[in-house]
Amino acid sequence: MTELERKQDRTPVPKEWAYAPAPEARDIVSLRERYGHFVGGGWLDPAESYTTISPATEEPLAEVGQATAEEVQAAVLAAREAFENGWSGISASERAKYLFRIARILQERSREFAVLETLNGGKPIKESRDVDLPLAAAHFFYYAGWADKLEYAFPNRRPRPVGVAGQIIPWNFPLLMLAWKIAPALAAGNTVVLKPAETTPLSALLFADVLRQAELPAGVVNIVTGDGRTGAAIVQAEGVDKIAFTGSTEVGKAIQRELAGTGKKLTLELGGKAANIIFDDAALDQAVEGIVNGIYFNQGHVCCAGSRLLVQESIYEPVVEKLKRRLTTLRVGDPLDKNTDVGAINSKEQLARIQELVASGEQEGAEIYQPPCRLEGLLVRADGFHERRAELSHSAGRDLRAGALDPHLPHSRGGGRKGEQHAVRPERRCLDREGLAHSVDGRAPARRRRVGEHLQPLRPELAVRGLQGIRLRPGRRPARPRAVSAVRRKRMKRLPVRKTYKLFIGGAFPRSESGRTYEAEGQNVARASRKDVRDAVRAARAALPKWAGMTAYNRGQVLYRLAEMIETRSSEFADLSSGREEVERTVDRVVWYAGWADKLAQVLGSSNPVSGPYFNFTVPEPTGVVAVLAPEEPPLLGLVSRLVPVLTGGNTVVAVASETHPLAAIELAEALATSDVPGGAVNLLTGHADELAPWLASHMDVNALDVTGADGAAADLERAAADNVKRIVRGEPDTQSPWDIASFLEFKTVWHPVGQ
């Protein structure tokens, strides 16, 4: 052992591990200074407006409209017109395709929406990223599928649209609530006037841009912003056929009263107070996770948040101890930080309400537990009964107060059915008023079922949950012939299904790890990040033995097959490039290089005269993983001219496509995927070249860099490339030459002794 090894560091291990801040970049969202109302496909200048803020910092984000009754009426008229003049008349399959488009666009722009949702609403980015956005897209996707299958959901009942739906949604899941409301309404053929919550209008306003990209006909969705006055105006507006409301029980009641006698349809989704019932045979650590998810998810801003806890007496102590300890690990902080578990309370008013309710609980004799991470409290009742009301904050304020005044919520005493009754009875009592979603933890399936039956408060629901805005006719009654207007009879042009433009890594087509896209050639194109660069290089390295290890003859055949694949897609490529001529030249170029693959050794290798008893020869070998920055123009031929010679030599490639014309590269990826090129031999990234190129240039596992497409910035790239002595190649966007192959080859010289 060397002296150096003996001196190896033996200092004690440090114990503190504070996670470094990990904020999600917010520059992906660009907000306007002012927003109007989105009416009839355009923006209506608001008469009044207010400032919407980030609740985490109180930073003003934008000015948004406070819609007046007149403005609301204008939106309803636009919706009515869209309903009469087309939307309800187009075929259901066409409606479905619009909704599918919206789902896709939400997926493509998911990170942008997630950041905005967190900025404007205060919820942790990990929730908006992993829950709100995927679910919102999933709702559109789900209801899209229903649009032309309604007769299977409601057999013999001739489902028809109701007309114009006025929709009022809360602030706890702004975009997801929008999806809950808009997707089913549109699927059923209705048009919509939607009002997002006063404190969280921005994701709905950005959603208007999704509608533009989806080319949804004007007026089918209208978005007006404002406070409760605007909501009231929607309820009272003429020409609204149905109101859908999610929010507080108080407002729900007021709406129901207001609509009495008008014949307008109404759907209410109101607040509740849920219980966690935990029996002694529950898996305790997981039951605690259930409690924490039930009440701290989204800061407890959930209509069915589990705000009560009923625990069997024999496990009361360990459950409360485990819960307290678990609460200390919650990370409260900047909602944009990826490690934040509990973000900002949605508004000052809401915070004040929580604090007031906690104080009232304490006055009633409950004891508060406050973990070091400063939550708004866990209340444990002092008199042997207990009730947890941590983060008591959802839209139903009155319910909470009722909860606080509820005399006794005994935890179950002992096991057996009697114990179950103890647990269930108080819950049943309040279920009629407030129950929404309870959870029962315990192993025994029979008990879970029994308790579940006691708790079952809801009317049987329709099999298709949530499809709203449907007028149903009883079965078998002959339907009146429907009046068909002249407009409706007009045949709509078929709505084409569009492509989702993704990256090409390791033979698969993933979205960018970053969840980002940018708009190019009128499409949302994946905007790769450095982590996609990392993955692509890893894939290229993994594919190298296979591609480089093929015989040169085989490689040539595979490249020829690629030419075949491009030729068969030539009309698609023609649309995405300068035209047919560019495609033809591309195919011919690939064929030319395919023919080179098995001639490199002959032309570029040599046997060398040396002074000595040696047979001395030189053979070309691939240099390894090559990064290619494709030229901006021509979009197809430029990329292929740089890419194919590199492949011909047996290298694998990570290429960054033309930033302004990336679609041809993505089409090429599809041709590659259907040719016999091994997965990972070519990886294609789209995005901002100046963001990606430095990571490729400095990457120690990239062996050569083609900077043909880098204008100006190449000096920095070349400097970064020096660390592992990368080959730097600056070529032409439109050439073909064996020297372009040779640029990416290493020449190995062998001294072989000859003699006796």
């Binding site: 052992m1 150096l4 090894e5 003996r6 190896q8 560091d9 033996r10 200092t11 291990v13 440090p14 114990k15 503190e16 591990w17 504070a18 996670y19 470094a20 801040p21 990990a22 990990k126 992993d130 002694d280 045979d281 529950a282 898996a283 305790l284 650590d285 997981q286 039951a287 996770e289 259930g290 101890e321 690990t329 990826k338 490690n339 933890d441 192993r443 660069v533 990392r534 290089v537 990571w695 400095s698 990457h699 120690m700 596992d701 970064a720 660390d723 592992n724």
Partner: protein
């Protein structure tokens, strides 16, 4: 079920009443929790901290039929000084070898902080009579092993002969003397999280200093949920007895990112007290190079290539 007093609380009872005292595991919620902890974003100095800690906690392992004294010597050098070009990178905790190679390993790490762990007790199957197992344990300890990684008798466990499993651990613990005892449950063969929890509690009650997921010889070795399940069992033992038992996930941990996920899980389940090689180990072989690459990436800002790190 003989020897009732020596069994942990609850094990002497028939199955039904035993269950509630040993507790159970809900697979769905366990896996959800493990998945959510795996999403923590550990950046910059926090990442460097985790990566260096992962090195300090590593049991650098070679357990192959083809192991030679030369390979173990190379492994020992790497264990002592993982990155020859970066003096700041600490030594690993231990090297883990087969009994035959213990003498070589001991000679190579002498005078350093690196410990020698040996597998024993008819690794990996454990399907041998007790006496030869004990003999093997005594032999490796005599030859200088600091730590013994034993396997439980899964055949006995799965056929309900818990007392046999328990007694065997007790005897191996005696035979280990001063050496630290890690008890391998081989979770892939136990089938359910409930079984993993039961086996964990049994091993801890019988005297394990560490409980360890796997031999590394089967697919489906260490996973985040199964490790979380074992950490929760350790926590329950700590709450009840004050004993701090160590944890060693092993098998299938190949990437630095995984190592960080395991440490986050440890940190948020057992707390900072367990963030030490005395109470946590990562059993791995190829993991070390990936961690070294990530450390250098944090230092230089550039993604690294395996070309610049030693081949194991």
């Amino acid at each position: 079920m003989a020897k009732a007093p020596a069994l942990p609380r609850g094990f002497e009872l028939p199955l039904e009443p035993r269950l509630s005292r040993i507790g159970s595991v809900d697979a769905v919620a366990l896996e959800e929790r493990a998945a959510s902890l795996a999403k923590r974003s550990i950046k910059r100095e926090a990442k460097v901290f985790a990566l260096e800690l992962a090195v300090r906690m590593m049991d650098l392992t070679t357990l192959e039929g083809q192991d030679t004294p030369g390979k173990v010597a190379a492994l020992a050098s790497k264990a002592i000084r993982p990155d020859p070009s970066a003096a700041g990178v600490p030594s690993v905790a231990a090297i883990c070898v087969y009994p035959n190679l213990v003498p070589t390993a001991v000679a190579r790490v002498e005078g350093t902080s690196v410990k020698v762990a040996s597998v024993a007790t008819a690794f990996p199957s454990g399907q041998s009579p007790l006496e030869p197992k004990l003999e093997e344990v005594r032999w490796v300890v005599e030859h200088g092993a600091d730590e013994v990684d034993m396997v439980i008798d899964r055949g006995a466990f799965l056929s309900g002969r818990y007392a046999k499993v328990y007694d065997e651990i007790v005897r191996v613990k005696e035979a280990s003397g001063e050496a630290h005892l890690k008890v391998i449950l081989e979770v892939a063969e136990l089938g359910t999280y409930d079984n993993v929890r039961r086996a964990s509690l049994l091993a801890m009650a019988a005297g394990a200093d560490f409980i360890k997921t796997s031999t590394g010889k089967l697919p489906g070795a260490a996973t985040l949920p199964v490790t979380l399940c074992m950490l929760e069992a350790i926590r329950d033992v700590y709450e009840e007895t004050g004993r701090m038992i160590g944890m060693k996930p092993a098998g299938g941990i190949r990437q630095a990112k995984q190592a960080v996920q395991y440490l986050v899980q440890l940190h948020e389940t057992l707390g900072p007290e367990w963030l030490t090689p005395d109470r946590y180990r990562l059993g791995a072989s190829s993991l070390l190079n990936d961690v070294l690459m990530q450390l250098r990436k944090e230092k230089t800002g550039a993604y690294q290539s395996p070309d610049y790190f030693t081949v194991d």
